[in-house]
Symmetry: C2
Subunit: 208 residues, 2 copies
């Protein structure tokens, strides 16, 4: 951040700083956004302000799959038409949205909210991993066991390590544990994959 | 905009749409911002929401130079240490901030809030042009006439045309009418010029 410009009105400066705290928005883009909003109709700013205020108050995590939702359990976990015997494990809520867009998956999800990353001080306990194990255990107790777990973490080093870790924890408990096919470019980010690549990766998934 | 994703909670979808209405933020960046804010501490969203709400209620245009300000007249127009006999005419408030950063100008400003652009249906009456002419006239009536007008519109076709138009209107009324030196790359945008280029452009300004 450059030193605050004394010639900017404090309220504009404050908005620029608030924008610049967001990822991918530098001080220059933040200024442009602020001055754009000064000229734009008031409802553009106010609608964004309201949406920001409502975000945290209206959303929560689904108590089954830990995806972001307004109703608990979420729409996918409540849907009787989905196959509740197949769980696709992903890192982030945006990954659920990406896979849903591919229209190639009819099971349910489990959102870890991160990956194991010793570099960043993230161990298994910081993720929704215990919840996944409990979920698998419970499913066996009810007599409708999970048949397959698809480990759809990102094809990065940390994503692979997290998948291996989960594989070791679940081996024996679940009939089939798979990983998305390497249609995904290694080092890439699942969320940016196009629908066709994601479809292929789902179709060609391999047992671990 | 892609079709709204039914799997996204409505409050998240609403925030994504509000972000995507901003210039330079596509649907993908909008999603990333929304999910970033879901994870970030609540005060990141709330601070941005508050700043957005305050923006329009606290700011107005200076009644002298039409720059964005919280106090009227603005800090620059009130400053007795500035040379009120030299007016730098710019397109946008961000251009004032850019020239102030160059620390090469000690006069005052006049913000047009746009350029003459027949393609976009913007004529002289849509800009703060009449206000500039009145300001020059008034200065002569008070016996402290404007000595110089620097036409610092962008070095684009529309910027040049606007400068020529103002030149024709003011010729004879003002001792000296200048244009920023062509240190600026033609077709570029004044607001993105670095401080040194802007300094040079100010120093080398030429009479029209």
């Amino acid at each position: 951040m450059p030193a605050p410009n004394k010639m900017l009105p404090p309220s504009v400066q404050r908005l620029i700083e608030a924008f610049a705290r967001l990822p991918g928005i530098g001080p220059k883009s933040a200024s442009r956004l602020a001055y754009y909003l000064l000229r734009a109709p008031a409802d553009v700013s106010l609608e964004l302000a309201d949406a920001l205020r409502d975000l945290k108050s209206l959303t929560r995590l689904c108590s089954v799959c830990y995806n972001v939702t307004e109703a608990d359990p979420c729409e996918i976990c409540r849907d009787p038409a989905r196959d509740h015997g197949v769980i696709c494990v992903v890192e982030e809520p945006l990954d659920v949205a990406a896979i849903e867009r591919s229209r190639s998956f009819n099971g349910v999800y489990h959102v870890l909210h991160g990956v194991i990353s010793p570099m960043n001080g993230v161990g298994p306990d910081e993720l929704r991993l215990r919840e996944l194990l409990t979920r698998v255990e419970k499913s066996r107790a009810t007599g409708r066991p999970i048949r397959e777990i698809i480990l759809a973490t990102n094809p990065t080093l940390e994503g692979e390590n997290t998948a291996s870790f989960i594989h070791r924890k679940l081996a024996g408990d679940v009939l089939r544990i798979t990983r998305l096919a390497r249609g995904l470019p290694v080092g890439g980010d699942l969320e940016y994959a196009d629908e066709i690549t994601l479809s292929r990766a789902l179709e060609g998934r391999q047992p671990l």
